[in-house]
Amino acid sequence: MRYSTFLIQRVLLSVLVLLGLSILIFMIARVIPGDPARIALGPLASRSQIEALRAQMHLDEPLYVQYAYYLAGLLRGDFGESLYTHRAVAIDLRDLFPATLELVFYSGLLMVVIGVPLGIVAAVWRDRWVDHTVRLVSLAGVVTPAFVWAIVLMLVFAYALGVLPVAGRLSPGLVPPSAATGTVTLDALLAGNLRAYLDFLRHLILPSVSLSLAGVAQAARLTRASMVDVAGRPYIEAARAFGISESRIALKYMLKPSMIPTVTILGLDFAALLGNAFLVESVFAWPGIARYGVEVILRKDLNAIVAVVMIMGLFFVVINFCIDMLVGYLDPRIRLRQMEDAA
């Protein structure tokens, strides 16, 4: 069987996952306590107002009917209206998703670019002071929530030192680059607006670092642990006997086989960042979807909940797919097997 068959099967399954997710979240959204109409109409709404809105939202009909309405809307490309922002959910998503995606992307980058090398360093100098330092510091990274990091970093770099901006994605004076994609990176670079991009990077430092620290720490620890595990394998001794340099052994012969757990967990961590970013977003006034997601869940904003979860689910599915690919790339045995399964 061809690998492409496996890929196609995997994609089809992902679509199935999204469908399952939509049903599940549709139900979850409806069991979350609270009456969406009541919450939407605000504090002082009267009962008749609430009844009217409930009817308008088909809330008095059976669940499957509601789902049918929803699916019908979805097929027309209509996510419905958010009760929270009173705008079309699609517009909310368009406005908010790129910012978070961008933040998460850079955080993920930091996780890999900083965390994995730290893990390697710790594993190579196992039980030396470097290792102990990395392990202790990474623990500190893990036990401190992103939200607290955000505040601490803000206090240090913005409040005390005053070297980095605190809020938003761009300085107020700066004209936002044309909103082709909604991400500053792409928009600014497409427009050749380097100044905006650099300003954006300055704004990005604090949020992305706070968001990624736990992941960096996790990456370092996972990498270290599996590297140490792999270090004891005979093939590492064999590579050493062939005179392969220690650095090459560490960076190639040990790293690749030891990356499977790291890639798996880190990939999921990365996908989860999208949802976990909300407190960081609210500290740095980052106009993102994570905060929106939390708010809509708390406000039982049915349409928005389903839409946000579906976006996050899509992201998860894509990441998951990438993890599978990557794990297959890392271990040919898995890849061979994936194909046999597809057969």
Partner: protein, 340 residues
Amino acid sequence: MSEPLLRVDNLVKHFPIRAGFLMRQVGVVRAVDGVSFSLSPGETFGLVGESGSGKTTLAMTLLGGYRATAGEIWFRGDNIADPVARRRRPALTKEIQVVFQDPGSSLNPRRTVRQTLEVPLRVHRLVSTHGEAARQIARLLETVELPAEFMHAFPAALSGGQKQRVAIARALATEPSFIVLDEPTSALDVSVQGKIIALLLDLQRRLNLTYLFITHDLSLMRNVATRVAVMYLGKLAELADTASLFGNPLHPYTRMLLSAIPVVSEAEERLKPRWVVPRGETPSPARVPPGCSFHPRCPDAFAVCPRIDPVAASADGRHVVRCHLYPGCTPAEVADAART
């Protein structure tokens, strides 16, 4: 001759070959390509052949580790090549056992010898109490000449030979009727090998065990096997009683093999056939040469060899060979065609 314990009928096992990141199938490895033989109870059937000729694949297919691409495997009246039939007979795992070629990877690095050996005992309810298990394991270790303390050791602390002895102990634990010995002593020194082989032969005699014995050590094969099959690129080249094969090797490949046996004394040197210089490269089972697959290396190859694959034939009904040099091996119609 008694009812065969195991009969293999035209067994085929092919592996797909894939390449590139997208792992397209670019060919097929004909690891086992139409093998037939049968084993009577109590015999030691030797299987020799060059590395990569498909011996392990054949063994694994018998054991159910691979699903046969085609062909039948009859064990005590069941065709166990069919996975469904195999599943119906869970006791097969007790009756058919194996000692692998590679002791390093066949022992779980995180389980002690004792834990490893306890599994077959427990699975097949050969022991019931903890103490009984410990005694039985100590006894097993003793039969493979390991001190009982080793039951607490992890494989990493064992030498290659010690690991292999543990693997043998594991195979013996279920008191099987048929054991596949895939180069069981290749990691052992001669002294231990001697003891293990003696032990295996003892057991065979006592328990009427049947062995499928795979080894590269032809001197050893000479001494243990009742019959020997020579395998070349997934097919049997020759199959005969041991004495007959060693005394009167027919197939050129067999002769090549026998002439290369390393021996320890001048007296033995004289027992080997005239030295046949190995020539050419071993073809890959992924690109089997047409006709007789041995022809590129064969010192006696002639016109028909690259064109037609010979069939197995025997002059006396016991010594079977697959080579155009011998009558009956060239398919009749081809032979006729060649004559006219």
